[in-house]
């Protein structure tokens, strides 16, 4: 018996982006199944963030096609783009929280500005999102009064409050220590399962991504040189994957642990 093919929520074909003479993306393609957590790996400067920003419409690609839920996101079609934006959220590396707004106002912003909801419902849904991220006690604090981890959770609350189908994460663990990196990935995986959205994470934290993700893709020299399950990534004999794996010290350590039969702990700390 063959398994039913997974429905693709997002399909990217042949994405190109150049900055001056430098080609950052040179035909990158990716298929993201609905409800999955996909991690895009790659070295620093490989173009991972550019790839994600092209998807989120922050950067305009030079060429290539992006299909969302079976519809082509054509560059000139404002209606389709708006529809895509209403079903997609983006979590920036810097969190991009509004420092002049309180936590509640930050979360309420996309609801107030993009949906026709009564004020009471906006407040209720915003408080609910804060509660789900364990931030309800800090609703009146400004982002500057919160710790880095709390800001990350607040950004996630803002991203999920509109109940998006797709959440794009740009280096969610950048600048964090290994313990916090693990906690952030665990948090993302937990909420991705809880809310059922499709998650696309760009990262260079390989061990955490391999534990949390359903699918892994490797971006190198502007192209996706690998796409498969974490198990397939670990077992892959492809030269690019081997080269990347070997360059990641932590990954090597983790693989050694797996070989020794040790368990990798990913509990929220």
């Amino acid at each position: 018996m063959t398994a039913a093919p997974q429905e693709m929520l997002l399909k990217i074909e042949g994405l190109h982006k150049c900055f001056g003479e430098q080609a950052v993306l040179a035909g990158a393609s990716l298929a993201v199944p609905r409800g999955s957590l996909v991690a895009i790996l790659g070295r620093s400067g490989a173009g991972k963030s550019v790839f994600l920003k092209c998807l989120a419409d922050v950067i305009e690609p030079d060429a290539g096609e992006i299909w969302f839920d079976g519809r082509l996101l054509a560059r000139g079609d404002a209606g389709v783009r708006q529809h895509f934006r209403s079903r997609c959220s983006f979590l920036f590396q810097s969190n991009a929280l509004f420092d002049s707004l309180t936590a509640l106002e930050n979360v309420a912003l996309p609801l107030e500005q993009t949906m026709d909801l009564p004020a009471g419902e906006v407040r209720e849904r915003s408080l609910e999102a804060l509660k789900q991220l364990e931030l309800e006690a800090f609703w009146d604090r400004y982002p500057g009064q919160m710790s880095g981890g709390m800001q990350k959770r607040l950004a996630l609350a803002r991203a999920i409050v509109t109940r998006p189908e797709l959440v794009l994460f740009d280096e969610p663990t950048a600048g964090l220590d290994p313990v916090r990196r693990n906690a952030v990935f665990t948090m993302i995986a937990k909420y991705q399962r809880q809310f059922g959205f499709t998650a696309l994470i760009v990262t260079h934290d390989v061990p955490e991504a391999l534990v949390a993700a359903d699918l892994v893709a490797l971006l190198d020299t502007g192209r996706m040189v690998f796409q498969g399950s974490p198990g397939e990534f670990i077992a892959s004999e492809e030269a690019m994957v081997i080269q990347f794996r070997d360059s990641e010290k932590e990954l090597s350590k983790m693989l050694a642990s797996i070989r020794r039969g040790e368990t990798i702990h990913t509990e929220d700390t």
Partner: protein
């Protein structure tokens, strides 16, 4: 030399086109924006309340100095009774709108350019766009609409305080009869002068806040690079260009209305 002039001219024309499109987009997007009124009121409060002390202080001292200088000049010709005329026409026609606009640029304009520059720098503007919220409608349009109302109000206040400063100087310090001063003011200021004053205030408000918003919003395109230097460079450029445009526009409007 010719090539440099040509390139410079093209750059200016391109920038003017850019600014025009920026303003057009802001107002076009604002038309369908939610809760615009609330943001306009907030912007009016920020521009108005933040600048009120400086407007009052500068207005008062402008009137005081004008009263003092005017009194001694007019005294030479035995025409002290015309002090009210001198102070009121100077303030209402020229000094009020120009100085109030320069103060507002220094206070509210620089704050706007720096705030937008920082929001660009910390990806807050990009975040709005990814949410499907127009950053032009959400961040720029309310400030421009607010400026159209705040600048005339602040200018009117500046003029009133300036006139009172002139009266303080002339009557309280130099012994001129207050009735003579105020009746000269009443006779001198006509409705056309007030119209000129408010026309200038609205024009200055629109031009300066547009420039400040434009430079802040496009801080990432700054030649100074990115980060704090880009924010600082764009804020400086916004204030300098706004100050120049106030004086240039003042000359143009005066030459048409005089």
């Amino acid at each position: 030399m010719v090539r440099a002039v040509g390139r410079y001219t093209l750059e200016i024309v391109q920038s003017l086109g850019d600014v025009a499109m920026f303003v057009g987009r802001s107002f076009r997007m604002a038309a369908g924006s939610r809760k615009l009124g609330r943001r306009v009121v907030r912007a009016m409060f920020e521009q108005g309340a933040r600048c009120l002390p400086v407007i009052l202080i500068v207005g008062l001292f402008t009137g005081l100095v004008l009263g003092l200088q005017g009194y001694y000049v007019l005294n030479r010709f035995g025409s002290e009774s015309l002090l009210g005329t001198l102070v009121s026409l100077s303030i209402v026609r020229e000094l009020g709108p120009v100085l109030a606009a320069l103060m507002l640029v220094g206070q509210a304009g620089s704050a706007l350019a720096a705030e937008l520059g920082l929001q660009r720098n910390t990806e807050q503007i990009a975040a709005l766009e990814t949410m499907g919220v127009s950053s032009h409608a959400y961040l720029v349009a309310p400030r421009l609409i607010a400026a159209l109302m705040v600048f005339p109000m602040q200018t009117a206040l500046f003029c009133c305080v300036g006139l009172w400063g002139g009266s303080l100087s002339g009557s309280l310090l130099l012994g001129l009869e207050p009735g003579i001063y105020w009746s000269a003011v009443e006779r001198a200021v006509e409705s056309a002068d007030v119209r000129e004053c408010l026309t200038k205030a609205v024009t200055f408000g629109f031009l300066t806040m547009t420039l400040c918003a434009y430079h802040g919003f496009n801080a990432h395109r700054s030649r100074a690079g990115t980060g704090a230097r880009a924010v600082s460079a764009s804020t400086t450029r916004a204030v300098v260009q706004s100050s120049i445009i106030v004086l240039a526009a003042d000359y143009v409007i005066t030459s048409f209305l005089i």
